[in-house]
């Protein structure tokens, strides 16, 4: 094992440029999109690998502290490629193309026999591990992106708007699930406290279907609003949804419902003692 590390280190130290050239050619031959580019990255990786080997890093454990720097560099690379939307396969094949130049170099330097095979095997598994690591980081950063987008979508889909003094409205768009209802409930209740609004309108025009679960969520929200001392109107119930609800036997337990947001607002204004009149000289 020691000889493999030594041979690899000597190879990188003495023939670094040649190895880099071979790596670049290998990438071009395999038709990788990163082919001719990423020269700096390759130099950095090679330097990092050399530094790690000189620091006594074991080839069979890439979690060892001596690998920290190289791993960090791979992290950054992988993350930036993930952010650029490069496919996962490209990311690993970039590193796997490094194998051939290394094998060839080792073959030249070591006499054939058990020692050579062992060295090649050690290097091969090392590169595999690094590639695996890179892929794991790639996956993780993609998942981070997805999670962030989900969060943003959640926040985007639940704005609480002020319709009138003391009247708040939440236009709900998309399917209601537990997580979203929870978020809507929390934001709405918070805004009720902040603004001291005594009436909230939940508009479900944008909700495609209402089943028993969704109704349950709505009822919960309305109950929480009532507990806080405010009132709630549900508006935007489309005819099909009204039919479904009745067929499913959903009882909205005395919750005020209106067909449209306009009706709900009119009711809210009336309740607060406002009246809307049309002036006679309007066209």
């Amino acid at each position: 094992m020691q000889t493999a590390t030594q041979a690899l280190e000597a190879l990188l130290r003495e023939e670094g440029d040649a190895v880099l050239d071979l790596w670049s050619r290998e990438l071009r031959d395999t038709g990788a999109r990163l082919g001719t580019g990423a020269q700096t990255e390759r130099q950095q990786l090679l330097a990092g690998l050399l530094a790690a080997l000189q620091g006594g890093a074991p080839t069979d454990d890439i979690q060892a502290p001596a690998w920290d720097e190289l791993r960090n560099r791979l992290d950054q690379l992988s993350r930036s490629w993930a952010a650029q939307g490069l496919p996962a396969a490209e990311t690993t094949s970039f590193l796997l193309a490094f194998k051939r130049p290394l094998f060839e170099g080792l073959q030249r330097r070591l006499a054939s026999g058990a020692g050579q095979t062992e060295a090649v095997w050690a290097v091969s598994s090392l590169i595999d591990r690094l590639a695996q690591w890179m892929l794991a980081v790639y996956q993780r950063s993609r998942e981070d992106i997805i999670q962030r987008q989900q969060q943003e979508l959640l926040e985007l889909s639940t704005p609480v708007v002020k319709l009138w003094d003391g009247v708040l409205a939440v236009p709900m768009i998309g399917t209601l699930d537990s997580a979203r209802t929870q978020l809507v409930m929390e934001t709405l209740l918070q805004r009720i406290v902040e603004t001291g609004s005594a009436l909230a309108i939940i508009d479900i025009t944008g909700v495609p279907t209402v089943d028993t679960l969704v109704a349950q969520h709505l009822i919960k929200t309305v109950t929480a609003i009532r507990l806080m001392g405010a009132d709630c109107i549900i508006s935007g119930i489309r005819p099909q949804i009204a039919q479904t609800m009745v067929h499913l036997g959903i009882d909205l337990q005395g919750i005020t419902t209106k067909a449209t947001l306009a009706d709900a607002l009119a009711q809210a204004l009336r309740r607060n003692g406002y009246g809307v009149t049309r002036s006679a000289d309007a066209a």
């Binding site: 929870q182 209740l189 406290v193 109950t223 929480a224 009532r226 507990l227 806080m228 001392g229």
Partner: protein, 124 residues
């Protein structure tokens, strides 16, 4: 054991809960309050729970039963200032407190009681 003070303002009893309620405190409050309603002939009870950060099912049920007791003694109860987290917890516990009147803050609660005294508020 701490007791929660009950203040009288005209024909209204004012209770502000500013500590985290223990079960025994809650029981004592229920006792005290029913006695005070009887003594003072109050027509309204206002319970301010804006400082209450945590509730359990016992406290939730206690609020409901205070309201029920006051009802029997011909007084209207309004619970005011419930925090969002508390409201969500109660809903998740399945306690919707039917029959308990609520208001956003003390001012609106007092207005509700005044209305109730005029007999303008129908039970929800």
């Amino acid at each position: 054991m701490e007791r929660i003070p009950i203040l009288q303002m005209g024909r209204t009893l004012l209770v502000t809960i500013q500590v985290d309620m223990q079960d025994r405190t809650a029981m004592a409050l229920q006792d005290d309050l029913s006695t005070r309603i009887e003594q003072t002939g109050a027509t309204g009870v206002l319970i301010d729970i804006s400082a209450l950060e945590m509730v359990d099912s016992f406290i939730g049920r206690m609020l409901a039963s205070i309201s029920g007791i006051a009802q029997v003694l011909d007084a209207t109860t309004v619970v005011v200032g419930m925090r969002p987290a508390v409201a969500i917890t109660l809903v998740e516990l399945g306690l919707s407190l039917p029959g308990v009147r609520t208001a956003l803050d003390v001012e609106k609660g007092m207005a509700l009681l005044a209305q109730a005294a005029r007999g303008a508020v129908r039970a929800r």
